[in-house]
Amino acid sequence: MRKKVYSKMMAAALAAAMVLSMAGCGDKGGSESSAPSGSGAVSSETGAGAEESKESSQPGQDEDTGDHEFSYFGSIWSPYQESTPIFDELMERTGIKVNFEWAAAEGMDTLLASKVSSKDLPDVISGGTAGPAAINDLISRGLIVPITEYLDTDLANYGRLLTEEDKLFLTYQDDGEIYGFGLVMDVPGSFSTMIRTDWLERVNMDMPQTWDEWMAVWKAFKEQDANGNGDPNDEVPFGFNYDFQKLVLNIFGMNSNGEFSVVDGEYLYDPENPNYEKYMDALREMYESGLLAQEMITLRGADFNTLGASNRLGSLVGYAEYSKNYTVSCRELDEGAFFQSVVPIQGPDGAQAIPARSKVQGSAFITVAAVENGHLEDILKFFNYVYSDEGIELTNYGMEGEYHDVVDGKPVLKAPYNEGFKTAREKGLIPSTIPFCFTEDVYMQILTGGLNYDELDDTGKTFMDGLTINEPYFYTEPPILQTESYVECFDLREQQVSLRDRYITGEISKDEYNKGYEALKNQGLSQMIEDTKEAYRKMAN
């Protein structure tokens, strides 16, 4: 009896599922031509919301509300939220409704491509902290509106924040126009060099300054049991995150963005730089004598953090906050552990530099759809407000009484917003997912939580040092010029990196590297090198 019931239920379930799945399939199949509507729940939600507001505003014939709106397609990442009271307030104050649609950074490009190909272009596209990868394609197709002329007019509040140098940085297309706008950061640089001072003591050496002194210290770290755990072989004297090669390139006089640097006013692909060989040789030597981590080429993200926390790393270049984080972690194993932030390593030729935090970023773009839909004016008005003094106060400090109090005429964040960047961002402050201006004051308020330098413990102090002592050594990274051949050569560039890494780790000889690199140049890399030079020349003039 039970068996029968069971089989009946199963049959019903199967049939239902079949019908359901087929219905879904057929439905999707049918709507093939009207694809725009089908790109995800978020869009349909916001889309529906927009229509609703449109409809409700129409009967009233109210001139100033409702009709002002635009769509914004942006990248989002933790801890930012899809909607916050700050966004609501911005919309309220400007009277312009923004229909946000968010995507994770990794999926951004595929989603964007499918939007474009189904003729569903959003009014504003934002890649978060940088432009979406496909943006150059869109610009070359004439789908993005240049904003150069608005910098003095409709976007004057944004324009006032830019120096000539910033404008140059934002002009990375060869037509000399500025297309992107975005985050303006007025906060201290984020990278620093740091070294285990307790290890220095243990191996009886002074704080290194010159390249030779650094080499001597690294060798001492390697040869002696610097971390005192009884194993003289587990120390890694120097480390850096594999994704931040630029932090090492600059030791050898290449003030690079990781791939390119400007030498004598000329934009040069790093492997073409006369100093590149010196960099590779030095790293090869260091790798061979065990001064770098054996698994150097996989040290990124979490793996790098694990190394930093494991009490095996003697010195590094990386985010200044590592000095605090790793000190705290290493103290689990060694109470005396301390990463002191220090000025940049002096290279063999005396170069001493570290990249500054880039002040401006072209991450948001206005599309031709905005012009067609008549939303351009609203977009400019909205963002011009975001960059106005009022707007800056709102995005940085939130609404008075709720997020901050005014003390001595200055906004001061209230708890819990001043307790950490994560909390502040979760609650809508400093919203890097849209273009805005991030002020030093709010950065410091959250960073210090109201404490001054002397009130900090040593871990806080070293972090703070990392932010401040590098000031004289900052250089501005050149932009990455996204010429057509640059994009086309992505695989050749990838192979150049592979050659470089195999040379540094001793897998191939100098001859093999040169031969391989020549082959890549013949395949098209030469073309890219020339193209990017030309593009920079045009831009700089």
Binding site: C25, E295, T505
Partner: protein, 313 residues
Amino acid sequence: MKGREKVPRIPQKNLWKRIWRAKYIYLMILPVIVWFLLFQYWPMTWLSIAFFDYDLYQGLSGSVFVGLKNFVKFFTGLDFWRLIRNVLLMNLYALAVGFPMPIIFALFLNEFRTRKVKKFVQTVSFLPHFISMVAFVTIVTEFLSPSTGVLAQIFRFFGKEPIFFLGKAKYFRSIMVFSGVWQEMGYSAIIYLSALTAIDVNLYEAAMADGANRWKRLIHITLPGIMPTVVVMFILRVGSLINANFEKIFLFQNSMNLEVSEVIQTWVYKRGMIKYDYSLATAAGLFNGVVALVLVIMANRFSKRYSDSAGIW
């Protein structure tokens, strides 16, 4: 298909009648056909973009027909022979090592007299098959890590400097193959185990009566008994020679092993999904598909020749 009875030829007149009688069956397979058309056959038609310079924003109608240009570009590119070499070497290595291991393992399990132990070992050996590739790659990376890995510990125990296996191109294929053995050995052994149970017990009895020892029984009865299965499996394996384990290779790829780890599928992925060169990527994908098809057809021929019963389709 085998086992289907031949329907006697029926005059045309009855055809419509029979079709009408089967109307509910057609109704039943209709959604299935729709699904196959939408998700299997429609994509095949999109292979045509290999012959166009496909414009992402304009669609096929706005794209320029370029004939075989993409194929020429793919075949003459710097990468082509490297890709072919990598795919072939990787698969031949996997065939040489990965293929015999499950057979040996099945024979090993078969020798157990204690059923509980056999069952336990078998259950454990299945386990890695159900681990996702992402988890698998993490586990292998941790295992091979020169600083924290188990292997490094063993090296140190014997006073040797640990090797950074994942950072050396020469070890890449071995890592792929042996980690593959770890993951799939137990699962792949199932088929041989069931072939083993089908061997006539009387053969063993007779051999034992003749005084054949265990080894002799293994060589003269067990091995010949599973040989047909082995041959069929071997041919199947050859048929999939060009299809590298894409997900795994992709997740293990790094700048040090790029030279040996780039295979057609990873190349297609990068060209297509990262650089949006759909046409070139599809041309390469089409090449891959055609070679796979030819291999499968050849494999099927051979398997039919080997035994009349074991055609793959």
